[in-house]
Protein backbone atom coordinates (compact mmCIF):
# COMPACT_ATOMS: atom_id res chain seq x y z
CA UNK A 1 0.00 0.00 0.00
CA UNK A 2 2.84 2.37 0.85
CA UNK A 3 4.20 4.73 -1.72
CA UNK A 4 1.23 4.10 -3.95
CA UNK A 5 -0.06 7.10 -5.84
CA UNK A 6 -3.36 8.58 -4.77
CA UNK A 7 -6.29 7.67 -6.93
CA UNK A 8 -10.05 8.01 -7.00
CA UNK A 9 -11.87 4.90 -8.22
CA UNK A 10 -15.54 5.27 -9.14
CA UNK A 11 -18.04 2.49 -9.40
CA UNK A 12 -21.58 3.26 -10.42
CA UNK A 13 -24.38 0.91 -9.39
CA UNK A 14 -26.76 -0.60 -11.93
CA UNK A 15 -29.53 1.94 -11.41
CA UNK A 16 -27.01 4.78 -11.89
CA UNK A 17 -28.18 6.68 -8.81
CA UNK A 18 -25.88 5.06 -6.22
CA UNK A 19 -22.21 5.79 -6.65
CA UNK A 20 -19.31 4.39 -4.68
CA UNK A 21 -16.04 6.25 -4.55
CA UNK A 22 -13.02 4.34 -3.35
CA UNK A 23 -9.94 6.24 -2.20
CA UNK A 24 -6.60 4.66 -3.01
CA UNK A 25 -3.02 5.28 -2.15
CA UNK A 26 -1.23 7.91 -0.08
CA UNK A 27 -2.67 11.38 0.30
CA UNK A 28 0.05 13.81 1.07
CA UNK A 29 0.35 17.57 0.99
CA UNK A 30 3.43 17.34 -1.23
CA UNK A 31 1.18 16.11 -4.06
CA UNK A 32 -0.93 19.24 -3.86
CA UNK A 33 -4.58 19.74 -2.96
CA UNK A 34 -7.64 18.86 -4.98
CA UNK A 35 -10.01 21.75 -5.59
CA UNK A 36 -13.73 21.46 -6.10
CA UNK A 37 -13.35 22.02 -9.81
CA UNK A 38 -10.68 19.34 -10.11
CA UNK A 39 -12.94 16.93 -8.27
CA UNK A 40 -15.81 17.83 -10.54
CA UNK A 41 -13.63 17.13 -13.57
CA UNK A 42 -12.35 13.82 -12.21
CA UNK A 43 -15.69 12.49 -10.99
CA UNK A 44 -17.76 13.95 -13.80
CA UNK A 45 -21.01 13.69 -11.80
CA UNK A 46 -24.20 12.88 -13.73
CA UNK A 47 -27.48 14.62 -12.92
CA UNK A 48 -29.16 11.37 -11.93
CA UNK A 49 -26.74 10.59 -9.08
CA UNK A 50 -28.50 10.53 -5.75
CA UNK A 51 -25.93 9.35 -3.24
CA UNK A 52 -22.18 9.07 -3.08
CA UNK A 53 -20.53 6.64 -0.67
CA UNK A 54 -16.87 7.21 0.03
CA UNK A 55 -14.86 4.24 1.23
CA UNK A 56 -11.32 4.05 2.47
CA UNK A 57 -10.33 0.36 2.55
CA UNK A 58 -7.49 1.00 0.13
CA UNK A 59 -6.43 4.23 1.69
CA UNK A 60 -2.73 4.47 2.47
CA UNK A 61 -1.27 7.23 4.64
CA UNK A 62 -3.15 10.49 4.70
CA UNK A 63 -2.87 14.00 6.07
CA UNK A 64 -4.65 17.34 5.74
CA UNK A 65 -4.71 17.04 1.95
CA UNK A 66 -7.32 14.28 2.32
CA UNK A 67 -9.37 16.36 4.74
CA UNK A 68 -9.25 19.27 2.35
CA UNK A 69 -10.35 17.10 -0.57
CA UNK A 70 -13.24 15.70 1.49
CA UNK A 71 -14.39 19.18 2.47
CA UNK A 72 -14.28 20.20 -1.19
CA UNK A 73 -16.17 17.04 -2.08
CA UNK A 74 -18.81 17.93 0.51
CA UNK A 75 -19.18 21.36 -1.02
CA UNK A 76 -19.52 19.78 -4.47
CA UNK A 77 -22.17 17.24 -3.41
CA UNK A 78 -24.10 19.90 -1.50
CA UNK A 79 -24.15 21.98 -4.62
CA UNK A 80 -25.45 19.08 -6.76
CA UNK A 81 -27.89 17.77 -4.13
CA UNK A 82 -26.14 14.44 -3.75
CA UNK A 83 -26.19 12.69 -0.36
CA UNK A 84 -22.60 12.16 0.82
CA UNK A 85 -21.92 9.06 2.92
CA UNK A 86 -18.57 9.06 4.72
CA UNK A 87 -19.08 6.36 7.34
CA UNK A 88 -16.82 3.87 5.64
CA UNK A 89 -13.77 6.04 6.04
CA UNK A 90 -11.28 5.48 8.90
CA UNK A 91 -12.44 6.68 12.32
CA UNK A 92 -9.80 9.41 12.52
CA UNK A 93 -10.95 11.00 9.29
CA UNK A 94 -14.58 11.05 10.40
CA UNK A 95 -13.76 12.52 13.79
CA UNK A 96 -11.62 15.29 12.32
CA UNK A 97 -14.34 16.18 9.83
CA UNK A 98 -16.94 16.32 12.60
CA UNK A 99 -14.66 18.47 14.77
CA UNK A 100 -14.21 21.01 12.01
CA UNK A 101 -17.98 21.16 11.53
CA UNK A 102 -18.87 21.19 15.23
CA UNK A 103 -18.29 24.93 15.78
CA UNK A 104 -21.24 27.09 14.92
CA UNK A 105 -20.56 29.08 11.78
CA UNK A 106 -20.61 32.52 13.22
CA UNK A 107 -21.05 35.44 10.93
CA UNK A 108 -18.07 37.61 11.71
CA UNK A 109 -18.71 40.87 10.05
CA UNK A 110 -15.84 41.48 7.71
CA UNK A 111 -17.51 44.03 5.55
CA UNK A 112 -15.83 47.39 5.22
CA UNK A 113 -17.28 50.50 6.71
CA UNK A 114 -19.51 52.09 4.12
CA UNK A 115 -17.88 54.70 1.92
CA UNK A 116 -18.75 58.06 3.42
CA UNK A 117 -19.92 60.92 1.26
CA UNK A 118 -17.18 63.19 -0.01
CA UNK A 119 -17.95 66.18 2.22
CA UNK A 120 -18.16 64.07 5.33
CA UNK A 121 -14.77 62.58 4.59
CA UNK A 122 -13.26 66.00 4.05
CA UNK A 123 -14.86 67.20 7.29
CA UNK A 124 -13.55 64.27 9.27
CA UNK A 125 -10.04 64.67 7.89
CA UNK A 126 -10.11 68.36 8.70
CA UNK A 127 -11.23 67.78 12.25
CA UNK A 128 -8.54 65.15 12.65
CA UNK A 129 -5.91 67.57 11.37
CA UNK A 130 -7.11 70.22 13.80
CA UNK A 131 -6.95 67.71 16.61
CA UNK A 132 -3.35 66.93 15.74
CA UNK A 133 -2.60 70.62 15.66
CA UNK A 134 -4.24 70.97 19.09
CA UNK A 135 -2.08 68.21 20.43
CA UNK A 136 1.07 69.81 19.05
CA UNK A 137 0.12 73.13 20.65
CA UNK A 138 -0.65 71.43 23.95
CA UNK A 139 2.67 69.65 23.81
CA UNK A 140 4.47 72.90 23.10
CA UNK A 141 2.73 74.45 26.10
CA UNK A 142 3.66 71.55 28.37
CA UNK A 143 7.22 71.72 27.11
CA UNK A 144 7.40 75.45 27.81
CA UNK A 145 6.06 74.94 31.32
CA UNK A 146 8.51 72.12 31.91
CA UNK A 147 11.36 74.34 30.69
CA UNK A 148 10.29 77.06 33.11
CA UNK A 149 10.41 74.54 35.94
CA UNK A 150 13.82 73.43 34.69
CA UNK A 151 15.07 77.02 34.87
CA UNK A 152 13.65 77.40 38.37
CA UNK A 153 15.28 74.12 39.32
CA UNK A 154 11.98 72.37 40.05
CA UNK A 155 11.89 69.92 37.16
CA UNK A 156 12.11 66.24 38.00
CA UNK A 157 14.41 64.34 35.65
CA UNK A 158 17.63 62.42 35.82
CA UNK A 159 20.70 64.57 35.16
CA UNK A 160 22.47 61.38 34.12
CA UNK A 161 19.98 61.05 31.23
CA UNK A 162 21.04 64.42 29.83
CA UNK A 163 24.66 63.33 29.80
CA UNK A 164 23.82 60.05 28.07
CA UNK A 165 21.68 61.72 25.43
CA UNK A 166 24.38 64.31 24.78
CA UNK A 167 26.94 61.57 24.40
CA UNK A 168 24.71 59.77 21.93
CA UNK A 169 23.67 62.81 19.94
CA UNK A 170 27.10 64.48 19.82
CA UNK A 171 30.16 62.24 19.61
CA UNK A 172 27.92 59.40 18.40
CA UNK A 173 27.04 61.34 15.25
CA UNK A 174 30.51 62.76 14.65
CA UNK A 175 31.63 60.43 11.89
CA UNK A 176 28.51 60.56 9.76
CA UNK A 177 28.24 64.35 10.05
CA UNK A 178 31.92 64.69 9.14
CA UNK A 179 31.61 62.48 6.07
CA UNK A 180 28.40 64.00 4.71
CA UNK A 181 29.51 67.61 5.29
CA UNK A 182 32.92 67.04 3.74
CA UNK A 183 31.27 65.59 0.64
CA UNK A 184 28.74 68.42 0.47
CA UNK A 185 31.66 70.88 0.56
CA UNK A 186 33.34 69.01 -2.31
CA UNK A 187 30.12 68.96 -4.34
CA UNK A 188 29.53 72.69 -3.82
CA UNK A 189 33.09 73.51 -4.86
CA UNK A 190 32.92 71.33 -7.95
CA UNK A 191 29.57 72.68 -9.13
CA UNK A 192 30.67 76.23 -8.43
CA UNK A 193 34.06 75.79 -10.09
CA UNK A 194 32.58 74.61 -13.38
CA UNK A 195 30.47 77.78 -13.67
CA UNK A 196 32.93 80.26 -12.22
CA UNK A 197 35.81 79.04 -14.40
CA UNK A 198 34.00 80.37 -17.47
CA UNK A 199 34.52 83.87 -16.12
CA UNK A 200 37.95 83.20 -14.75
CA UNK A 201 36.51 83.79 -11.29
CA UNK A 202 37.57 80.49 -9.68
CA UNK A 203 38.64 82.35 -6.57
CA UNK A 204 34.99 82.92 -5.69
CA UNK A 205 34.56 79.17 -5.10
CA UNK A 206 35.80 79.94 -1.63
CA UNK A 207 33.05 82.54 -1.04
CA UNK A 208 30.44 80.21 -2.47
CA UNK A 209 31.37 77.31 -0.24
CA UNK A 210 31.64 79.51 2.85
CA UNK A 211 28.33 81.22 2.27
CA UNK A 212 26.40 78.07 1.34
CA UNK A 213 27.78 75.95 4.16
CA UNK A 214 27.55 78.64 6.80
CA UNK A 215 24.12 79.94 5.99
CA UNK A 216 22.25 76.89 4.72
CA UNK A 217 23.85 73.54 4.12
CA UNK A 218 25.67 73.07 7.42
CA UNK A 219 22.57 73.53 9.54
CA UNK A 220 20.14 71.76 7.19
CA UNK A 221 22.29 68.72 6.47
CA UNK A 222 23.18 68.21 10.12
CA UNK A 223 19.53 68.57 11.10
CA UNK A 224 18.41 66.03 8.51
CA UNK A 225 21.09 63.57 9.60
CA UNK A 226 20.06 64.03 13.23
CA UNK A 227 16.36 63.67 12.38
CA UNK A 228 17.06 60.31 10.81
CA UNK A 229 19.43 59.22 13.51
CA UNK A 230 18.42 60.71 16.83
CA UNK A 231 14.84 61.88 16.20
CA UNK A 232 13.92 58.40 15.00
CA UNK A 233 15.54 56.77 17.99
CA UNK A 234 13.67 59.11 20.38
CA UNK A 235 10.36 58.12 18.81
CA UNK A 236 11.28 54.44 19.02
CA UNK A 237 12.49 54.66 22.64
CA UNK A 238 9.46 56.54 23.90
CA UNK A 239 7.11 54.47 21.76
CA UNK A 240 8.37 51.19 23.15
CA UNK A 241 8.15 52.62 26.66
CA UNK A 242 4.50 53.29 25.89
CA UNK A 243 4.04 49.69 24.73
CA UNK A 244 5.74 48.42 27.86
CA UNK A 245 3.51 50.47 30.23
CA UNK A 246 6.66 52.27 31.39
CA UNK A 247 5.06 55.66 30.77
CA UNK A 248 2.01 54.64 32.82
CA UNK A 249 4.41 53.62 35.56
CA UNK A 250 6.16 57.00 35.41
CA UNK A 251 2.90 58.92 35.58
CA UNK A 252 1.62 56.93 38.52
CA UNK A 253 4.94 57.47 40.25
CA UNK A 254 4.02 61.14 40.10
CA UNK A 255 6.59 61.96 37.41
CA UNK A 256 5.61 63.99 34.36
CA UNK A 257 6.40 62.35 31.04
CA UNK A 258 7.28 65.68 29.45
CA UNK A 259 9.69 66.59 32.25
CA UNK A 260 11.23 63.18 32.71
CA UNK A 261 11.47 62.00 29.10
CA UNK A 262 11.31 65.03 26.81
CA UNK A 263 13.24 67.65 28.75
CA UNK A 264 16.57 65.76 28.88
CA UNK A 265 16.31 65.07 25.15
CA UNK A 266 15.53 68.70 24.35
CA UNK A 267 18.44 69.87 26.48
CA UNK A 268 20.84 67.42 24.88
CA UNK A 269 19.79 68.36 21.36
CA UNK A 270 19.82 72.10 22.03
CA UNK A 271 23.43 71.80 23.13
CA UNK A 272 24.67 69.26 20.61
CA UNK A 273 22.99 70.29 17.37
CA UNK A 274 24.58 73.79 17.17
CA UNK A 275 27.96 72.29 18.05
CA UNK A 276 27.56 69.66 15.37
CA UNK A 277 26.53 72.39 12.94
CA UNK A 278 29.75 74.31 13.61
CA UNK A 279 31.67 71.11 13.03
CA UNK A 280 29.71 70.43 9.85
CA UNK A 281 30.41 73.91 8.47
CA UNK A 282 34.11 73.45 9.17
CA UNK A 283 34.13 70.08 7.41
CA UNK A 284 32.30 71.53 4.40
CA UNK A 285 34.81 74.36 4.12
CA UNK A 286 37.60 71.82 4.36
CA UNK A 287 36.03 69.85 1.50
CA UNK A 288 35.88 73.00 -0.60
CA UNK A 289 39.49 73.76 0.23
CA UNK A 290 40.63 70.34 -0.92
CA UNK A 291 38.91 70.78 -4.28
CA UNK A 292 40.25 74.33 -4.65
CA UNK A 293 43.84 73.42 -3.95
CA UNK A 294 43.92 70.23 -6.03
CA UNK A 295 41.80 71.29 -8.96
CA UNK A 296 41.83 75.07 -9.14
CA UNK A 297 45.34 75.77 -7.90
CA UNK A 298 44.08 78.09 -5.20
CA UNK A 299 46.35 77.90 -2.17
CA UNK A 300 44.88 77.19 1.26
CA UNK A 301 45.88 80.59 2.54
CA UNK A 302 44.26 82.36 -0.39
CA UNK A 303 41.13 80.23 0.03
CA UNK A 304 40.78 81.22 3.69
CA UNK A 305 41.66 84.85 3.10
CA UNK A 306 39.15 85.18 0.28
CA UNK A 307 36.47 83.59 2.46
CA UNK A 308 37.07 85.83 5.45
CA UNK A 309 37.10 88.88 3.19
CA UNK A 310 33.84 88.10 1.43
CA UNK A 311 31.66 86.10 3.82
CA UNK A 312 30.55 88.16 6.82
CA UNK A 313 30.36 86.49 10.19
CA UNK A 314 26.62 87.03 10.56
CA UNK A 315 25.99 84.41 7.85
CA UNK A 316 27.43 81.81 10.20
CA UNK A 317 25.31 83.19 13.04
CA UNK A 318 22.21 82.68 10.90
CA UNK A 319 23.20 79.04 10.42
CA UNK A 320 23.57 78.60 14.17
CA UNK A 321 20.21 80.19 14.95
CA UNK A 322 18.59 77.87 12.45
CA UNK A 323 20.22 74.86 14.05
CA UNK A 324 18.66 75.83 17.39
CA UNK A 325 15.21 75.92 15.75
CA UNK A 326 15.88 72.60 14.03
CA UNK A 327 16.86 71.01 17.34
CA UNK A 328 13.46 71.90 18.80
CA UNK A 329 11.67 70.64 15.69
CA UNK A 330 13.50 67.30 15.68
CA UNK A 331 12.95 66.57 19.37
CA UNK A 332 9.31 67.62 19.20
CA UNK A 333 8.55 65.40 16.21
CA UNK A 334 10.32 62.44 17.81
CA UNK A 335 8.75 62.85 21.24
CA UNK A 336 5.20 63.66 20.08
CA UNK A 337 5.07 60.58 17.89
CA UNK A 338 6.64 58.49 20.63
CA UNK A 339 4.14 59.64 23.25
CA UNK A 340 1.22 59.20 20.82
CA UNK A 341 2.37 55.71 19.92
CA UNK A 342 -0.15 52.88 20.05
CA UNK A 343 0.44 49.80 22.16
CA UNK A 344 1.92 47.38 19.66
CA UNK A 345 5.22 46.71 17.90
CA UNK A 346 3.77 47.90 14.58
CA UNK A 347 2.77 51.17 16.20
CA UNK A 348 6.39 51.77 17.25
CA UNK A 349 7.55 51.33 13.67
CA UNK A 350 4.87 53.70 12.44
CA UNK A 351 5.74 56.29 15.10
CA UNK A 352 9.40 56.14 14.05
CA UNK A 353 8.60 56.60 10.38
CA UNK A 354 6.24 59.50 11.10
CA UNK A 355 8.79 61.15 13.34
CA UNK A 356 11.44 61.13 10.61
CA UNK A 357 9.10 62.20 7.83
CA UNK A 358 7.54 65.00 9.86
CA UNK A 359 10.81 66.33 11.19
CA UNK A 360 12.41 66.46 7.73
CA UNK A 361 9.38 68.25 6.31
CA UNK A 362 9.32 70.62 9.28
CA UNK A 363 13.04 71.34 8.94
CA UNK A 364 12.63 72.43 5.33
CA UNK A 365 9.49 74.45 6.14
CA UNK A 366 11.18 76.23 9.04
CA UNK A 367 14.24 76.84 6.88
CA UNK A 368 12.21 78.48 4.13
CA UNK A 369 10.26 80.60 6.66
CA UNK A 370 13.51 81.83 8.15
CA UNK A 371 14.92 82.55 4.69
CA UNK A 372 11.84 84.58 3.72
CA UNK A 373 11.96 86.49 7.01
CA UNK A 374 15.64 87.28 6.59
CA UNK A 375 15.12 88.42 3.02
CA UNK A 376 12.40 90.81 4.16
CA UNK A 377 14.73 92.05 6.86
CA UNK A 378 17.43 92.47 4.24
CA UNK A 379 19.98 90.18 5.93
Amino acid sequence: MQGEERKLALSVAADETQVRLSLHGDWRLEDGLLSKEQLRAQLDPKPNWRSLVVEGQHLGRWDSSLMSALRELKALTDELNIALELNELPQGVIRLLNLADSYPRRQVSTEQAPQLPFFERVGRRTRKAFKRFDFTLEFLGLLTMASMRLIKGQARYRAEDVRLFMLDAGPGSFKIVALISFLIGIILAFVGAVQLRQFGAEIYVSSLVGLAMGREMGAVMTAIIMAGRTGASYAAQIGSMQVNEEIDALKTMGLSDVEFLVLPRVTAMLIMLPLLTVFSIAMGILGGAVVSSLMLDISWQLYIKQMSDTVALYHFAIGLVKSILFAVVIVMAGCIHGLNCGRSATAVGKATTLAVVHSIVAIIVVDSLVTVMLTVLGL
Binding site: M241, E245, D248, A249, K251, T252, M253, G254, L255
Partner: protein
Protein backbone atom coordinates in the same frame (compact mmCIF):
# COMPACT_ATOMS: atom_id res chain seq x y z
CA UNK B 1 -6.52 48.72 62.51
CA UNK B 2 -9.70 50.72 62.56
CA UNK B 3 -11.98 50.16 59.62
CA UNK B 4 -12.59 53.26 57.61
CA UNK B 5 -13.33 53.84 53.97
CA UNK B 6 -10.14 54.39 52.03
CA UNK B 7 -11.21 54.32 48.41
CA UNK B 8 -14.76 54.98 47.34
CA UNK B 9 -16.17 54.45 43.87
CA UNK B 10 -19.46 56.21 43.22
CA UNK B 11 -21.59 55.49 40.20
CA UNK B 12 -18.55 55.10 37.97
CA UNK B 13 -18.98 54.66 34.21
CA UNK B 14 -15.88 53.80 32.21
CA UNK B 15 -15.71 54.25 28.47
CA UNK B 16 -13.22 54.44 25.63
CA UNK B 17 -14.74 57.09 23.39
CA UNK B 18 -18.33 56.01 22.87
CA UNK B 19 -17.69 52.37 23.81
CA UNK B 20 -18.83 51.81 27.39
CA UNK B 21 -16.73 49.23 29.22
CA UNK B 22 -18.58 49.14 32.55
CA UNK B 23 -21.28 51.34 34.04
CA UNK B 24 -22.80 52.13 37.43
CA UNK B 25 -19.96 50.76 39.54
CA UNK B 26 -20.24 51.62 43.22
CA UNK B 27 -18.21 50.04 45.97
CA UNK B 28 -16.01 50.97 48.90
CA UNK B 29 -12.58 49.71 49.86
CA UNK B 30 -11.74 49.81 53.55
CA UNK B 31 -8.34 50.69 54.95
CA UNK B 32 -6.29 47.50 55.23
CA UNK B 33 -8.47 45.51 52.86
CA UNK B 34 -7.11 43.15 50.29
CA UNK B 35 -9.59 44.00 47.60
CA UNK B 36 -9.92 41.80 44.53
CA UNK B 37 -11.22 43.02 41.20
CA UNK B 38 -12.40 39.88 39.43
CA UNK B 39 -14.34 38.87 36.37
CA UNK B 40 -13.90 37.01 33.11
CA UNK B 41 -11.38 38.00 30.47
CA UNK B 42 -12.13 41.28 28.73
CA UNK B 43 -14.64 42.55 31.26
CA UNK B 44 -12.68 45.68 32.09
CA UNK B 45 -10.71 44.70 35.18
CA UNK B 46 -7.51 46.42 34.09
CA UNK B 47 -9.52 49.41 32.89
CA UNK B 48 -11.08 49.71 36.33
CA UNK B 49 -7.62 49.68 37.85
CA UNK B 50 -6.48 52.39 35.43
CA UNK B 51 -9.39 54.48 36.65
CA UNK B 52 -8.49 53.86 40.28
CA UNK B 53 -4.90 54.98 39.75
CA UNK B 54 -5.87 58.04 37.75
CA UNK B 55 -4.56 57.01 34.33
CA UNK B 56 -8.02 57.12 32.80
CA UNK B 57 -10.59 59.75 33.48
CA UNK B 58 -14.09 58.54 34.48
CA UNK B 59 -16.75 59.09 31.82
CA UNK B 60 -19.21 59.58 34.66
CA UNK B 61 -19.11 59.26 38.44
CA UNK B 62 -16.09 59.61 40.68
CA UNK B 63 -13.30 57.81 42.50
CA UNK B 64 -12.45 59.19 45.93
CA UNK B 65 -9.31 58.63 48.01
CA UNK B 66 -9.95 59.47 51.62
CA UNK B 67 -12.70 61.71 50.26
CA UNK B 68 -10.53 63.41 47.58
CA UNK B 69 -11.06 62.99 43.87
CA UNK B 70 -7.97 62.76 41.66
CA UNK B 71 -9.67 64.84 39.00
CA UNK B 72 -10.82 67.76 41.10
CA UNK B 73 -7.45 68.85 42.42
CA UNK B 74 -4.54 70.69 40.81
CA UNK B 75 -1.94 68.79 38.81
CA UNK B 76 0.54 69.23 41.66
CA UNK B 77 -1.88 67.82 44.25
CA UNK B 78 -2.74 64.98 41.90
CA UNK B 79 0.92 64.03 41.69
CA UNK B 80 1.10 64.32 45.47
CA UNK B 81 -1.79 61.85 45.80
CA UNK B 82 -0.31 59.50 43.22
CA UNK B 83 2.91 59.35 45.18
CA UNK B 84 1.03 57.58 47.96
CA UNK B 85 0.24 54.70 45.58
CA UNK B 86 2.50 51.82 44.71
CA UNK B 87 1.66 50.06 41.48
CA UNK B 88 2.86 46.75 40.12
CA UNK B 89 2.13 46.36 36.43
CA UNK B 90 1.35 43.16 34.58
CA UNK B 91 4.69 42.94 32.79
CA UNK B 92 6.61 44.89 35.41
CA UNK B 93 6.90 48.16 33.44
CA UNK B 94 10.42 48.70 34.75
CA UNK B 95 12.27 51.43 32.87
CA UNK B 96 14.27 49.37 30.42
CA UNK B 97 17.20 51.79 30.28
CA UNK B 98 17.90 51.55 34.03
CA UNK B 99 19.16 48.70 36.23
CA UNK B 100 16.87 47.15 38.84
CA UNK B 101 18.59 49.16 41.54
CA UNK B 102 18.19 52.42 39.62
CA UNK B 103 14.53 51.63 38.98
CA UNK B 104 13.86 51.21 42.67
CA UNK B 105 15.97 54.25 43.46
CA UNK B 106 14.12 56.50 41.03
CA UNK B 107 11.15 57.48 43.24
CA UNK B 108 13.51 57.87 46.19
CA UNK B 109 15.80 60.22 44.26
CA UNK B 110 12.92 62.25 42.92
CA UNK B 111 10.75 62.58 46.00
CA UNK B 112 13.00 62.43 49.06
CA UNK B 113 15.98 64.43 50.28
CA UNK B 114 18.02 61.33 51.07
CA UNK B 115 21.70 61.15 50.20
CA UNK B 116 22.98 58.75 47.53
CA UNK B 117 24.38 56.39 50.16
CA UNK B 118 21.12 56.30 52.10
CA UNK B 119 19.17 55.64 48.91
CA UNK B 120 21.53 52.82 48.03
CA UNK B 121 20.90 51.31 51.47
CA UNK B 122 17.14 51.54 51.06
CA UNK B 123 17.26 50.12 47.55
CA UNK B 124 19.14 47.08 48.75
CA UNK B 125 16.66 46.65 51.59
CA UNK B 126 13.63 46.89 49.26
CA UNK B 127 15.20 44.47 46.80
CA UNK B 128 16.02 42.11 49.67
CA UNK B 129 12.33 42.15 50.66
CA UNK B 130 11.43 40.63 47.32
CA UNK B 131 14.51 38.39 47.22
CA UNK B 132 16.37 40.24 44.46
CA UNK B 133 19.22 41.90 46.32
CA UNK B 134 21.91 40.06 44.32
CA UNK B 135 20.39 41.38 41.09
CA UNK B 136 20.68 45.08 41.90
CA UNK B 137 22.91 45.82 38.92
CA UNK B 138 21.07 43.70 36.36
CA UNK B 139 19.06 45.28 33.55
CA UNK B 140 15.35 44.39 33.36
CA UNK B 141 15.98 42.54 30.09
CA UNK B 142 18.48 40.24 31.79
CA UNK B 143 16.09 38.69 34.32
CA UNK B 144 13.03 36.45 34.08
CA UNK B 145 9.42 37.62 33.92
CA UNK B 146 8.67 36.58 37.48
CA UNK B 147 11.71 38.47 38.72
CA UNK B 148 10.65 41.57 36.81
CA UNK B 149 7.31 41.41 38.59
CA UNK B 150 9.00 41.21 41.96
CA UNK B 151 11.38 44.03 41.05
CA UNK B 152 8.37 46.09 40.04
CA UNK B 153 6.92 45.36 43.48
CA UNK B 154 10.14 46.56 45.09
CA UNK B 155 9.81 49.82 43.17
CA UNK B 156 6.15 50.08 44.14
CA UNK B 157 6.98 49.88 47.84
CA UNK B 158 9.96 52.23 47.62
CA UNK B 159 8.07 55.15 49.15
CA UNK B 160 6.09 53.07 51.68
CA UNK B 161 2.77 53.61 49.89
CA UNK B 162 -0.68 53.70 51.46
CA UNK B 163 -2.28 51.75 48.65
CA UNK B 164 -0.67 48.95 46.68
CA UNK B 165 -2.14 48.03 43.30
CA UNK B 166 -1.36 44.78 41.52
CA UNK B 167 -2.32 44.04 37.92
CA UNK B 168 -2.45 40.25 37.57
CA UNK B 169 0.43 39.60 39.96
CA UNK B 170 0.47 35.83 39.57
CA UNK B 171 -0.16 35.57 35.82
CA UNK B 172 2.67 33.63 34.25
CA UNK B 173 4.10 32.43 37.56
CA UNK B 174 4.35 28.81 38.64
CA UNK B 175 2.03 27.81 41.54
CA UNK B 176 4.77 27.92 44.15
CA UNK B 177 6.02 31.37 43.13
CA UNK B 178 2.43 32.59 42.97
CA UNK B 179 1.90 31.35 46.51
CA UNK B 180 5.09 33.06 47.69
CA UNK B 181 3.92 36.28 46.08
CA UNK B 182 0.57 35.98 47.90
CA UNK B 183 2.40 35.57 51.19
CA UNK B 184 4.54 38.57 50.36
CA UNK B 185 1.46 40.68 49.63
CA UNK B 186 -0.11 39.68 52.97
CA UNK B 187 3.14 40.40 54.79
CA UNK B 188 3.47 43.82 53.18
CA UNK B 189 -0.14 44.69 53.91
CA UNK B 190 0.38 43.87 57.58
CA UNK B 191 3.76 45.54 57.95
CA UNK B 192 3.07 48.66 55.90
CA UNK B 193 -0.53 48.92 57.02
CA UNK B 194 -1.38 49.43 53.38
CA UNK B 195 -4.57 48.82 51.47
CA UNK B 196 -4.11 46.35 48.64
CA UNK B 197 -6.07 46.25 45.39
CA UNK B 198 -5.50 43.26 43.12
CA UNK B 199 -6.75 42.54 39.62
CA UNK B 200 -6.70 38.79 39.18
CA UNK B 201 -8.60 35.71 38.14
CA UNK B 202 -6.33 33.32 39.98
CA UNK B 203 -8.86 31.51 42.19
CA UNK B 204 -6.30 30.21 44.65
CA UNK B 205 -5.09 33.76 45.33
CA UNK B 206 -8.58 35.17 45.46
CA UNK B 207 -9.59 32.84 48.27
CA UNK B 208 -6.23 32.84 50.02
CA UNK B 209 -5.84 36.55 50.49
CA UNK B 210 -8.87 38.50 49.30
CA UNK B 211 -11.20 39.78 51.99
CA UNK B 212 -13.30 42.03 49.80
CA UNK B 213 -14.02 42.10 46.09
CA UNK B 214 -16.06 43.31 43.19
CA UNK B 215 -17.20 41.05 40.38
CA UNK B 216 -17.52 42.61 36.93
CA UNK B 217 -19.66 41.07 34.23
CA UNK B 218 -18.80 41.66 30.57
CA UNK B 219 -22.32 40.98 29.29
CA UNK B 220 -24.40 43.31 31.43
CA UNK B 221 -21.41 45.68 31.67
CA UNK B 222 -21.76 46.30 35.35
CA UNK B 223 -20.84 44.83 38.70
CA UNK B 224 -22.84 41.79 39.81
CA UNK B 225 -21.71 41.55 43.38
CA UNK B 226 -19.29 42.92 45.90
CA UNK B 227 -18.09 41.40 49.16
CA UNK B 228 -15.63 38.85 50.52
CA UNK B 229 -14.92 36.13 47.93
CA UNK B 230 -15.56 33.32 50.43
CA UNK B 231 -18.91 34.84 51.34
CA UNK B 232 -19.79 35.16 47.69
CA UNK B 233 -18.99 31.51 47.12
CA UNK B 234 -21.09 30.47 50.08
CA UNK B 235 -24.09 32.74 49.83
CA UNK B 236 -24.31 34.40 46.47
CA UNK B 237 -27.04 32.98 44.26
CA UNK B 238 -25.81 34.37 41.00
CA UNK B 239 -24.98 31.62 38.53
CA UNK B 240 -22.16 33.57 36.86
CA UNK B 241 -20.35 34.14 40.12
CA UNK B 242 -20.73 30.52 41.15
CA UNK B 243 -19.42 29.39 37.79
CA UNK B 244 -16.45 31.70 38.04
CA UNK B 245 -15.52 30.86 41.61
CA UNK B 246 -15.76 27.10 41.03
CA UNK B 247 -14.07 27.03 37.61
CA UNK B 248 -17.36 26.19 35.95
CA UNK B 249 -17.99 23.08 38.01
CA UNK B 250 -21.12 24.38 39.67
CA UNK B 251 -23.61 25.56 37.16
CA UNK B 252 -26.70 25.61 39.34
CA UNK B 253 -26.02 27.50 42.54
CA UNK B 254 -29.05 26.11 44.37
CA UNK B 255 -27.53 22.64 44.65
CA UNK B 256 -24.73 23.73 46.88
CA UNK B 257 -24.27 25.64 50.06
CA UNK B 258 -20.83 25.40 51.53
CA UNK B 259 -20.74 26.05 55.25
Amino acid sequence: MTKSTHIEVNDLTMAYGSMVVQRDLSFAIQRGDIFVIMGGSGCGKSTLMKHLIGLNRPAKGEVLFSGQSLWQVSAEQQRELLRRFGITYQAGALLSSLTLGENVALPLQQFTQLSAAEIDDLVRYKLALVGLEPYQHFMPSEISGGMRKRASLARAIALDPEVLFFDEPSAGLDPVSARLLDDLILELRDSLGATVVIVTHELASIFAIGNNSVFLDPETKTQIATGAPKELLAHCDDAKIQRFLTRGERTSPKETTTP
